[in-house]
Symmetry: C2
Subunit: 146 residues, 2 copies
């Protein structure tokens, strides 16, 4: 399960951040979405609940949430501007539908061996990785194959 808006709200307060209506609107928008959202998408969605919210607040809030590890960027083939709520577990990767942007996440990945081999071959010390798997979700296939 991904984090809920309320759960994140309490995390923010615990960290000393204020819970403004703007922030809450952003949290709800990103928590409710199955698709990764750009700052612009978020602005539009957050404005439904809080019409006067400014674009800058979106950026500032994403920045805070990103630093706390509560949201993360989705790297899709058509751009890297989307954000999703993360899972509480930390390490995870995305499965992104290239049709609709729906994004699922998963945490198991078989890359330890590979990283070890790369270290031996290159003299690098590996510190992490980014893995995004692309595909088409069942809904998009149904819509396309009509």
């Amino acid at each position: 399960m991904r984090l809920t808006a309320n759960r994140i709200a309490s995390i923010l307060r615990r960290k000393g951040y204020r819970l403004t209506p703007q922030r809450y609107a952003i949290l709800k928008a990103i928590a409710a979405s199955e698709e990764h959202l750009t700052p612009d998408d978020l602005l539009e969605k957050a404005r439904v609940a809080t019409p006067q919210i400014g674009r800058i607040t979106i950026y500032r809030t994403l920045d805070i949430l990103g630093q706390l590890g509560l949201v993360c960027r989705v790297h899709a083939p058509d751009g890297c501007r989307g954000y999703m709520m993360t899972r509480p577990t930390g390490h995870h990767h995305h499965l992104v539908c290239t049709g609709c942007g729906r994004t699922l996440d998963f945490s198991d990945c078989p890359l330890e061996e590979l990283e070890k081999r790369l270290e031996q071959d290159t003299g690098f010390i590996t510190t992490g990785h980014l893995l995004e798997v692309y595909g088409t979700c069942a809904d998009c296939r149904a819509a396309a194959g009509s």
Copy 2:
């Protein structure tokens, strides 16, 4: 081995593109670099050989090279604007030094099992993936651990 500037030049001609001094300067800059380069980095480097080159030419050339699969974008933790020459083999991934940006590539990755499992679990049909491994190269470690 990555592609050389001359090798790419002949590919371009074969495809019907003209080999202008500007394009050649860009090819040489990107082929000579161990690090991934942003359009701005490329502009600066290409201008050494061809001072009057315009920023737009960088974008247009990267676009062509990208469509032909000759360069590709590097997704680093601090941004996704860098480009590297690709290998002739096609499918590949990057090992990126987070210190200096040096980028190596490799083509083996053990993700078939994972993709199969994801398909079963989610109803997606997977079509590809992005994998970037991050780490620190020996030079950067030596410089930092002084």
